[in-house]
């Protein structure tokens, strides 16, 4: 375990940070009925990384080099950012594409999935690395990369802690929010910025499956039983953190890729949380007042 920690300590710290901040961001997506963004955007980020691998391979091919080690994490972060921004732009193209929010998110997921599989076919040097990223193989990241993840996570955490009531009001009643003097566009941009930050650093370090698991599963498991928005956010954090711990244990013990383990871990944690938090509620439930 010590060698494992030595090799992957920074990666695990990054995962821990993501496990604490991604679930409350996902909670807002869930509450707004846009949980599919939690699937579409990480997949778009992965497609961006695939584009980067293709560009990198074409560049090296043109130079006549045959042995390079694939794109760096910094490059992956940049390309994941491009993919995420393209995904966000596509999700916002209501006036041109039309259709429902979930329809556009499904479309982004479809196209990004195709790109993430097809593009590496033209860039064999990057294909293995991209495949490992897609599966969520745990990757060794440096301290600089870890610092980036921690800073991004800290910024998102501070924004959520200080601004969650504003995000709540804009989501619950945009008209009343405007009357209160809030800018709907700016508040939504801040939330989208949080989603994008988590998506980019998360996809580039832990892979899209881990981010699916952290953005989507904990809120899904906590929404029905949460007695309040604050409790919903807190419980999502707790489930995400427990899910990450279970995922690392599962991945280490059974030598499994981390990405799907995060989804399974979060699902198990969500089920446990549901049992623990719903039991007292059921015991003390009185008939609804009408």
């Amino acid at each position: 375990m010590s060698i494992y920690l030595e090799l992957f300590g920074a990666s695990l710290a990054a995962l821990a940070a993501l496990a604490l901040v991604a679930p409350p961001v996902g909670a807002f997506l869930h509450a707004r009925g846009t949980a599919l963004h939690g699937l579409a955007l990480p997949q778009a980020a992965l497609a961006g990384i695939a584009v980067g691998a293709l560009v990198d391979a074409l560049g090296h091919g043109a130079d006549g080099h045959h042995h390079h080690h694939g794109p760096s994490l910094a490059s992956d972060l940049a390309w994941a950012g491009v993919g995420t921004l393209v995904g966000l732009a596509a999700l916002g193209f209501r006036s041109r594409v039309g259709g429902s929010e979930s329809g556009r998110a499904a479309g982004v997921f479809c196209l990004a999935s195709a790109a993430a599989v097809l593009l590496p076919s033209f860039a064999p040097t990057g294909a293995l690395q991209l495949d490992a990223r897609a599966r969520g193989e745990i990757l060794a990241i440096g301290t600089t990369d870890l610092a980036l993840v921690l800073v991004a996570s800290a910024v998102v955490a501070v924004l959520l802690l200080r601004g969650w009531r504003s995000v709540l009001l804009v989501g619950q009643d945009p008209l009343a929010a405007r009357v209160c003097g809030l800018s709907i566009a700016r508040t939504n941009a801040l939330l989208n910025g949080c989603v994008a930050a988590i998506t980019v650093v998360g996809t580039a370090t832990a892979g899209p499956l881990a981010i699916f698991g952290l953005l989507v599963v904990p809120p899904l498991g906590c929404h029905a039983g949460a007695p309040s928005m604050a409790a919903f956010l807190r419980r999502s954090v707790a489930v995400g953190a427990l899910g990450a711990v279970l995922a690392v244990a599962m991945s280490f013990e059974a030598d499994l890729p981390l990405g799907p383990c995060v989804i399974v871990g979060a699902a198990v944690a969500a089920l446990l949380a549901r049992l623990v938090w719903r039991a007292p509620e059921r015991l003390s439930r009185s008939s609804p007042t009408r």
Binding site: G33, S166, A177, C180
Partner: protein, 221 residues
Amino acid sequence: MSDLVRMRSAALGHSGRAVLTGVDLSFGAGRFVVVRGASGSGKTTLLHAALGLLPPIAGSVERAARVGSLVPQLDALDAHHPADVLETVLSGVVGPGTFATRLAAEDRDRAEALLEALELTDHARRRVDRLSGGQRQRVLVARALVREPDLLVMDEPTSALDERAAELVLALVRAAVAGGALALVATHRDASAPGSQDTLVLVEGGSVHVVEPAAAPGGAR
């Protein structure tokens, strides 16, 4: 401008299509204004213009209100957010212009006092999406009043309320008016019929008629 809301030859509507034309009115502090009209006549358009949510297509709309507040129609509240009653009421203190909200102790005290006045104290920690329509409507009233507005705009605030709950709401609104607020209340309920000191605004046929208190019909309360 001593008036809190003033409209001059205003054409009001959406996407360049006027719903109301030739709107001339002005209201100052401490007025209770009942806005009456059939469904779809343009009451909500008038209220939104008064709050600055809709720019006039023609003419002018001026507002001197420092703090505006809206009680929207009941279906405006999204039901997917698992917010409880107290959280929803306290969300009314956000802004203006600030993303981050730091609640003061007085905000919480005021919210709790409003919940008590609206007989919602026992529901303060219940999720809003699990309340009845009438309870949710009272929550929206509390959320609007917690801002201590000087312009209070209410769109059918008693549509889902029984008589007693409607009286509780109107008592709070009249208290706010007595404290200097201007209240614009769109309604077609008898419980909100204008009193002898109230102004009546009739919205019909794409125009607006203001009936000042001395001539206003309806029973005094």
